[in-house]
Symmetry: C2
Subunit: 244 residues, 2 copies
DNA sequence: GCAAAAGTGTTAATCTTACACCCATGC
DNA sequence: GCATGGGTGTAAGATTAACACTTTTGC
């Protein structure tokens, strides 16, 4: 590149100085943490610690740290709040209206997470943190209700095609539990026979040749997610056929 | 709320102070601007003005301003660069690895935009801004290639179900143009008869009873998007049936 | 009249939906 | 023995995919 051309370019350092004014916005992450219990979809909330939102519930979140990747921050938040590692997390979107946060200009990136509520309960430490049934949530601090709804919408889209739902279930589960969970997420009732055919076709499950043993009726078979689909993996290249 | 409880809460002001360290990250927006010309899907790029990326192309973007909503910033960027108002824009995701920007810690939120390349050409002012065919883009400044790919993926998902594609076409268009555009976006060939049936079923178009008049072959009918679907509107509540 | 694309319908295959009976277990 | 859910198949309807010929225009 000729020197003359180079002269016209700013260096990163000079740009940083000229934009100093802009380095005055904080970024947070907020997590919509879904759990499943007693046939209900729930989310984990914490009592807001801001006086402005006293008595209101809010999502679990935190400011991101200067030396932390954006997408790493929600893992840290979940680790701190629930003790859980290796949770399923997915970015949903960023929210940044000017006055969304009373502390100043804060833009937040929202993630949704699917965790096994039983695992979490063993590690719960903070008694300001509680599970809430989604339908009972009328109001949340900040714009968290809107964020929750965006995450729920994303969850509903994703469970249909991608094997993410299993993060909400124990390792071994029956088809009834799985169907109850789909119904809780989608808010619809599914036909049992058709549901089982659909799941069989997806080929996501291994029959582990065990039965339920704690039910007051005929026990069902137990299944596991196939191991190559586990681990919140970045989805093998499932090239969906385009249908226009 | 009892006063004792209030005392334990931070006020927004005190929180701001305790988090001052975190107000040291800049936020930018970057736009993946798609256009359609000569049966090719293109995106609008600008020569990077950072010495670190001399000679590299980058997305159009800018830092967000302290008093600007996050989702408003990309409209400003498009207005400044292309002169266009009322463009279609949609947030795709945020990218924030620590070292993605040489000027410091910058997290960017990516948007995709669909514009009519002909409108734009009348208003192009900056000769560092050019349309590029997507397949020829091997490398971009920053992490912009990755951002471009995320936006292209989102575009491919959206055109199938939602009437967004028309933002890339002139007001009046033939079904051939529409099919060419779908093919360019999805990278597949579609059957003409089946395509026309599918489009007819969606009921997106008005037959305006005009014909093409500039083609060297039998002219096709012209159509318009139905007016109630125009305007980049927030999609009427199209409750997709869940298919599990 | 020839090149180029417009316009159009049918059939087979696949997928989706609706629906009912017997079975195994705990109590 | 009865209540509870487990397990299973079929037929009708809807959607999708494959496929070819005639028509209209510009040149």
């Amino acid at each position: 590149m000729p020197t003359e051309a180079l002269k016209k370019l700013k260096t990163a350092e000079s740009e940083k100085i000229s934009h100093l004014d802009y380095f005055n916005i904080a970024i947070s992450v907020d997590c919509v943490i879904f759990g499943f219990e007693k046939k209900e979809l729930k989310i984990l909330l914490i009592k807001s610690d801001l006086a402005e939102f006293a008595n209101k519930w809010s999502l679990l979140g935190d400011f991101i740290k200067p030396a932390e990747d954006l997408d790493s921050a929600p893992y840290r938040v979940l680790k701190q709040r629930t003790g859980l590692n290796d949770v399923f997390l997915q970015q949903v979107g960023s929210f940044g209206t000017i006055n969304r946060h009373p502390s100043g200009r804060v833009i937040t990136t929202a993630y949704y997470s699917l965790i096994n509520i039983k695992h979490h309960q063993m590690k719960i430490t903070d008694n300001e943190v509680h599970w809430h049934m989604i339908e009972t949530i009328k109001e949340l601090a900040f714009d968290h209700k809107q964020i929750m709804e965006a995450c729920l919408k994303r969850l509903r889209e994703q469970v249909v095609d991608e094997p993410v739902i299993f993060n909400l279930l124990p390792e071994k589960f029956s088809l009834r539990e799985l169907q109850d969970l789909y119904q809780a997420i989608l808010g619809i009732k599914l036909d049992r026979r058709n549901f089982r055919k659909k799941i069989a076709m997806k080929n996501w499950l291994d029959d582990i040749d065990e039965m339920e043993d704690d039910v007051p009726h005929r026990p069902g078979k137990l299944y596991k997610l196939k191991t190559d689909l586990k681990n919140n993996k970045p989805l093998k290249s499932s090239v969906k056929k385009a249908k226009v």
